[in-house]
C-alpha cells in the first residue's frame, strides 16, 4: 500500500534519449562507481557519448579506474577531460597520466574522503551514472541480486544522494519490492535500461586466494604472532584485512588462534571475501560490514545472511559520519609498495613514479584503527620496500603502527605502548632503519630516480589536507 504513494522513476531506453532531457554540455562533472571492476560496460557506454559529442572540460569522479575503462583514455588523449578525482587507478589510463599528466590535475582521495567530499559539496557532481544490477520501478536498488550482481554498492551511495542528477543504469528492471534497498529510489531521477551492465567474468575477479608463497606465509605468521602477543585477538575484537594473498593468510592464521582460544570477533569490515564469509558462518564473527564484495561467495552471502550488512562508503569511512564503522576498528592489515623511515606508506605509485593504485580505504582505516599493521616482503624483486622517503605518500606515517616483514618487525616509535608490551617478546623486533640495513645487505642502496619537475596531481587525505604531490615520470 505504501508503495502506491511512491513515484515511479522515468525509464529511458537509450543514452541519446537521456541527453534530450539533460543538456550534456552543462553536465560535465560526472561520477561512476567501480563495483563492476574490469567487467564494467557502463563507464565506456556513457563516456562514448561524451566522446561522440566532443564535450570539453569534463571533470571525472570515478571511485576507481580499471584497465578496461578505455574510453577515459580516449577522452584524456582528446583533451576532453580536465580533472580526474578518484581513489584508485591502474592500467593504461594510469600509465598515460603518469607519463603525460592531465589538462587539469589528478586528485587521489580516500574512500572515506570521497564520500565526505560528495556529501559536503566539495566534489560537485552533475550526473552520477550508477551501474545497478537489480532495480525496481521506484528506483530502489541492490547490488547483490541480478544476472550481473556485484555485491555491495557501497561506493555509489553518496553519489546516489548528493549528485545533481542521479541515473541508475541497469539490465535488470523488476516489478518487485526490494527490502532494505542499498540505493533509495526516492533520490533517483532516471533509470537507463541497457542490454548488459557488465561481463560476469570481469566483475568477480576470482583472484582472492590465500598466499602459499613461503615468504608471504612467514610474514602472515609473524603478523598473527604479533597481534597475539599484543593481546589484540581477544573476545569482541574487530578486524579488517584486504583481499591480498598475505592479508588473507593473516586472516586464516587469526582464525586458527580464535578457534584454539575460543574467541569471537565483533565485526569484520571493508572488502569481503569467501574467507570472511566462512568465519561468519562458523560463528567466529558476529557481523560483516561490507563496502565491496571481492568474490561470488561474498555476494551470495550478502543476499542470504542478515548479519552480512552492506554499508555505504560514508558509513564505512567518512570521518564526519557519526555512524562510521571503522572508528570502532581494532586491527587493520594493509599492504605497502614502499614505506619510509617515518612510516609513511605509498600504495599509489611504484618506484618509477608510475601510478599503480591509490589509497582506497588504506589511509582511512590506518587513521582510525587501534593497530594498523603493514605487511610486506622486505625485498620485492631486487628493491627494498623501505626507503628514506617514499615516492608518493598515500598514508601518513603517524597512522601506521607496525611493519611486519619476513625478516623482522618494526614498531613505529610513536607507539610507545606497543613497544612496551613487546619488551620481552621472542619475536624479532627491530627498528625500521635496522630492517632497511638488512635489505641493503642484499640489494645495496638503490639509486633514487624520482623526478620532481612537474606536478600532475596530489594526494588528498580524508581531512582534505594535501599530503603529497604526484609528479610526472
Amino acid at each position: 500500500m505504501e508503495h502506491e504513494k511512491r513515484q515511479i522513476v522515468k525509464v529511458i531506453n537509450d543514452i541519446d534519449e537521456l541527453f534530450t532531457l539533460v543538456d550534456i554540455s552543462l553536465n560535465r562533472n560526472i561520477s561512476f562507481h567501480h563495483h563492476l571492476r574490469n567487467g564494467d560496460y557502463v563507464i565506456n557506454y556513457v563516456l562514448n557519448k561524451y566522446l561522440k559529442e566532443k564535450v570539453q572540460g569534463i571533470n571525472l569522479f570515478p571511485s576507481a579506474i580499471f584497465p578496461s575503462y578505455t574510453s577515459i583514455l580516449e577522452l584524456i588523449k582528446n583533451k576532453q577531460i580536465n580533472n580526474i578525482t578518484t581513489n584508485y587507478l591502474n592500467g593504461p589510463v594510469a600509465e598515460y597520466i603518469s607519463n603525460n599528466g592531465l589538462e587539469g590535475k589528478l586528485t587521489m582521495q580516500t574512500h572515506g574522503g570521497r564520500a565526505r567530499s560528495i556529501i559536503e559539496g566539495k566534489n560537485k557532481i552533475d550526473i552520477a551514472f550508477i551501474a545497478a544490477p537489480y532495480v525496481n520501478s521506484y528506483g530502489d536498488s541492490v547490488g547483490y541480486l541480478g544476472k550481473n550482481k556485484c555485491g555491495s554498492l557501497g561506493y555509489s551511495i553518496p553519489d546516489s544522494v548528493h549528485a545533481k542528477i542521479k541515473v541508475l543504469v541497469t539490465d535488470n528492471l523488476v516489478d518487485l519490492d526490494i527490502e532494505s534497498p542499498e540505493i533509495d529510489g526516492s533520490n533517483i531521477d532516471y533509470i537507463l535500461l541497457v542490454d548488459e551492465i557488465g561481463d560476469r567474468q570481469g566483475i568477480v575477479s576470482g583472484t582472492t586466494e590465500v598466499t602459499k608463497n613461503p615468504i608471504g606465509v612467514k610474514i602472515a605468521k609473524n603478523t598473527s604472532l604479533l597481534l597475539h602477543e599484543l593481546g589484540a585477538i581477544k573476545h569482541g575484537f574487530s578486524f579488517q584485512s584486504g583481499a591480498g594473498g598475505v592479508s588473507l593468510r593473516v586472516t586464516k592464521d587469526v582464525r586458527d588462534i580464535m578457534i584454539k582460544e575460543n574467541i569471537k570477533a565483533s565485526f569484520f569490515s571493508g572488502g569481503i571475501t569467501k574467507y570472511h564469509v566462512d568465519m561468519l558462518e562458523e560463528g567466529l564473527v558476529e557481523k560483516l560490514y561490507d563496502v565491496q564484495c571481492f568474490d561470488l561467495e561474498a555476494i551470495e552471502s550478502l543476499s542470504r545472511n542478515k548479519m552480512h550488512i552492506p554499508i555505504s562508503a560514508s558509513r564505512y569511512a567518512n570521518p564526519t559520519d557519526e555512524s562510521q564503522i571503522i572508528k570502532d576498528l581494532d586491527i587493520v592489515i594493509l599492504g605497502a609498495t614502499e614505506i619510509d623511515y617515518n612510516f609513511n606508506v605509498n600504495v599509489t605509485t611504484d618506484s618509477h613514479q608510475t601510478l599503480i593504485g591509490g589509497s582506497g580505504g588504506h589511509s582511512d582505516t590506518a587513521s582510525e584503527s587501534k593497530i594498523c599493521v603493514i605487511v610486506s616482503p622486505l625485498i620485492k624483486g631486487r628493491i627494498p620496500v623501505i626507503k628514506e622517503r617514499v615516492t608518493t605518500i598515500t598514508t601518513l606515517g603517524k597512522n601506521i603502527d607496525c611493519l611486519v616483514t619476513e625478516r623482522g618487525i618494526a614498531i613505529n616509535p610513536l607507539r610507545k605502548d606497543l613497544i612496551k608490551k613487546l619488551k620481552n617478546s621472542k619475536l624479532k623486533i627491530v627498528t625500521i632503519e635496522e630492517l632497511s640495513r638488512i635489505a641493503y645487505k642484499f640489494t645495496n642502496i638503490p639509486q633514487d630516480i624520482v623526478k620532481h619537475d612537474k606536478i600532475i596531481g596530489e594526494v588528498e587525505d580524508r581531512t582534505f589536507e594535501i599530503i603529497d604531490n604526484i609528479y610526472q615520470k
Partner: protein
C-alpha cells in the same frame, strides 16, 4: 641435533637469498635433482659467490652434491670444499662413494639411503668417517623396489625402522624422507609423528611451508620438558643410581634421555 632439513634448489636466487627466513634448523642446498644438467655450473657459481659473501651462524648448511657415479660429483666438491658449510648430503650413498668423498673433503657427510643395497649397507655406511646422520630417500628407494608410495607409508616401514635403529646404534642423527604432498598439512603432521615414533630425530622437507609442522613435531612438548626437568632435578638430589618418580622406575638411561631433551629444548629457545 637439527629437527628440520629443508631442500632448496641451488640455482634459484630468490630461494637462496631467503634460506635463513624459513626457520629450518638445517638447509640443504641442492645441486642434484632440482637442478637440470645445463644449470649445474650456474648453481655452483651462484652458491660459491653467495656463500663467500654471506655466512649463517644460526643454521646448519649442507650441499647435496650429485652422486659419485655422476659426471658432476668431482666438480661439485671442488667448487664447494672451501666454503663455510657444515657438510655434504650424498645421494645414492654407498661405502665406496663415502670413501671417495672423504678423500676430497673432511666435512660432515649425510648419506642418503635410497636403494635396497644402501639399506643393507646402512650399518657400514653409518660407521664411515665423517658420517653424522642417515637420510632416508624413499622416492628412489621405492622406485628401485618397484612399488608405489602411499600416504600411509607401510611400504617404507621396514626401511624407516632400520635406519632409525642403525643411526641410534651408531650415535648419529636420523632424517626422515620428505613428505611430498606439500598442500596436505594434516598428512605431513601424521607422517612426521610416525617417523618420530619410529625413532627418527628429524625430517627433511621439500617446501618451506612444511618446516613449521616438522619443527613442532620434533620439538619436545611442554609436558615432556616439565617431566624431564623433574627427572633431572630428582636425579641431582638422589645419591642412588635409580629412584622412583610417580611410581615409575627412573634409571641412568632415562636420566640421560631427559638431559638430552632439555638440551634440545634449550637449543630451540623453548
Amino acid at each position: 641435533m637439527s629437527r628440520s632439513y629443508l631442500f632448496i634448489p641451488g640455482n634459484t636466487p630468490s630461494m637462496i637469498q631467503n634460506l635463513d627466513v624459513f626457520e629450518s634448523d638445517a638447509v640443504i642446498i641442492d645441486f642434484e635433482d632440482s637442478v637440470t644438467s645445463y644449470d649445474k655450473d650456474s648453481a655452483r657459481i651462484l652458491i660459491k659467490n653467495f656463500l663467500k659473501k654471506y655466512s649463517y651462524k644460526d643454521i646448519d648448511l649442507y650441499i647435496r652434491i650429485n652422486s659419485y657415479d655422476s659426471l658432476y660429483f668431482l666438480e661439485d666438491v671442488k667448487a664447494t670444499k672451501d666454503l663455510d658449510i657444515n657438510g655434504y648430503v650424498l645421494p645414492k650413498a654407498s661405502v665406496k662413494a663415502i670413501e671417495e668423498l672423504n678423500k676430497l673433503s673432511s666435512k660432515a657427510i649425510i648419506p642418503i639411503i635410497e636403494s635396497p643395497m644402501a639399506l643393507l649397507e646402512a650399518k657400514e655406511i653409518a660407521d664411515q668417517e665423517n658420517v653424522t646422520a642417515l637420510l632416508l630417500g624413499a622416492e628412489d628407494y621405492t622406485k628401485e623396489l618397484g612399488i608405489n608410495r602411499t600416504l600411509l607409508g607401510t611400504e617404507i616401514l621396514y626401511a624407516r625402522s632400520f635406519i632409525a635403529i642403525v643411526a641410534r646404534a651408531y650415535n648419529i642423527d636420523s632424517i626422515d624422507t620428505p613428505y611430498t604432498n606439500k598442500e596436505d598439512e594434516v598428512g605431513l603432521k601424521e607422517d612426521s609423528l610416525n617417523a618420530k615414533n619410529l625413532g627418527f630425530t628429524s625430517k627433511s622437507s621439500i617446501h618451506p611451508n612444511q618446516v613449521d609442522i616438522i619443527n613442532q613435531v620434533f620439538s619436545p612438548s611442554k609436558e615432556e620438558i616439565t617431566e624431564a626437568k623433574r627427572i633431572v632435578k630428582k636425579a641431582l638430589d638422589n645419591t642412588k643410581g635409580a629412584f622412583s618418580l610417580d611410581g615409575k622406575m627412573i634409571d641412568l638411561p632415562i636420566i640421560e634421555k631427559a638431559k638430552n631433551l632439555l638440551d634440545k629444548a634449550k637449543k630451540y629457545n623453548m
